[in-house]
């Protein structure tokens, strides 16, 4: 199985070789999507963990046992109308019409409630007006 997680950790925990142990003891494939550690050594890591179900579960139990707070990653798509040039390319890639062209004005609009965060629109936008945001809380 494969999942994206946010791990919030404090100074003491950031000293631990978490990634090394996950790879070595639990045989997980780890992709670090984002990391932010402040000068006080507190911060978060966004990880994608991949492995068989047992090792995945045990790996997560291991991270939690260190006192790290682990939460599933929640992602949202943000459309920045001030960056968008209204080319309309993204709408033809959106499966849910969250990005939609009004055929009279040919203008693009974005309806967050229809977005399923499939990510299809991200690559085709030439101005990078559409971005994937991770919801990350203040470090704990």
């Amino acid at each position: 199985m494969k999942n994206k997680l946010v791990c919030y950790f404090s100074a003491a925990q950031s000293e631990q070789p978490i990634i090394y142990r996950l790879v070595k003891n639990y045989d997980l494939i780890i992709n670090i999507i984002k990391a932010d550690i402040n000068p006080q050594k507190e911060g978060y890591l966004v990880l994608e963990l991949e492995g068989d179900k047992n090792s995945y579960d045990e790996g997560v139990i291991f991270i939690k046992s260190l006192g790290v707070v682990v939460e599933p990653l929640s992602e949202t798509v943000v459309w920045q109308p001030e960056v968008c040039i209204q080319c309309g390319a993204c709408a033809s890639f959106c499966p849910t019409e969250a990005l939609n062209i009004d055929r009279d004005s040919m203008e693009i609009s974005f309806d967050n409630s229809k977005c399923v965060v499939c990510g299809m629109c991200l690559d085709c936008c030439p101005t990078r007006a559409i971005q994937l945001h991770f919801e990350i809380k203040e470090a704990v």
Binding site: I85, Q86, C87, S105, M106, P126
Partner: protein, 412 residues
Amino acid sequence: MSAKKSYEEINEKIKRGEAVVVTAEEVIGIVAEKGYAKAAQEIDVVTTGTFGPMCSSGAFINFGHSNPRIKMKKVWLNGVEAYSGIAAVDAYIGAGQLPENDPENKVFPGRFTYGGGHVIHDLLARKDIRLEAVGYGTNCYPNKKVDTIITLDDVNDAFLFNPRNAYQNYNCAINLGDKVIYTYMGILKPKVGNASYSSAGQLSPLLNDPYYRTIGIGTRIFLGGGVGYVAWNGTQHHPNVARGENGVPQTGAGTLALIGDLKQMDPNWLVGLSFIGYGATMAVGIGIPIPILDEEMLHYTAVKDEDIYCPIVDYNEGYPYNKPMDLGLVNYKDLKNGKIIFNGKEVVTTPQSSYPRARKIAETLKGWIQRGQFELTQPVANIPSADADIDFKSIPERNPGATNLNGGNRRD
């Protein structure tokens, strides 16, 4: 009575604030309501617009001198190289140029997040730009290195000079292959999963003056949010192609080389773009006014999306490997409605050129003319038209090893 007007007459009306100016979209409704003859008498100017990716764009910059002076051998702006094989502190930054260390397509498809077009946009946004230059040092230009921060206001001159813009019509791109491909026409899904197009259609400048009767060398235009001029025909200008009965080319045809002072332009109308898997480029905003000299000009400007056709081209093999394939024509009305029919199957369309922005340019130019801020110009000379005999050439395949040109100098 057939209405004929001269450039002078139209400009007199503009100066008096009396000129009747409409956009290339509005003129369609007016003609439908009043007929050609009456509308041709009433309307003085029709404004057009287009805003889309145009790779053949860039700017000449003169940086002024360092102290001591330098003859720049290489120049970089925010890490993007500008061509400096001209005078000491002159350079040309091209929209498609990538930073020296760009990963390009090494991890396919590459992202191309920054390039020359982004540099031009950042200059216009009055952002700080890192200027690096190296020279080899001469008696007159002893300095060998410059590394500093500049803004657009610090340079002597900066003018946009775009060798090929405003393509008169363009391909509709599809992918006949079974893998997704990444092109300058955007992402093309396999097995004709989408059809990408890039023209403002009925609003596009050269589609409203198909034989370049009024658009020629010296024509004053809206360029990048400021005022610019047509400098020449663009590169790859190829007017002698198949045309419909309305005179409109049914494939890419005419092009324009454009020039204008960058310092009076606006970052909203020159925007750096990143095409995944392809490269970096720039969206350029262009608007051209068309004088309604007579009823014939009105006929041209009243052209509708449904009467403008473009060829469907396969970008999997047809375009990259020059394989001729006849895949038919499609019109801009269908393209803009979001679906075309190809081989009996409905295909969604992907626009690359921004129609809302094209409309805004035509509206802006209309406002300038109505307020008497912008007068029309008669071309100093015409650009080649449909009766030209221009051959569309390819690079010849010859063996350089067998020749001893320029003392045998070569790159390797």
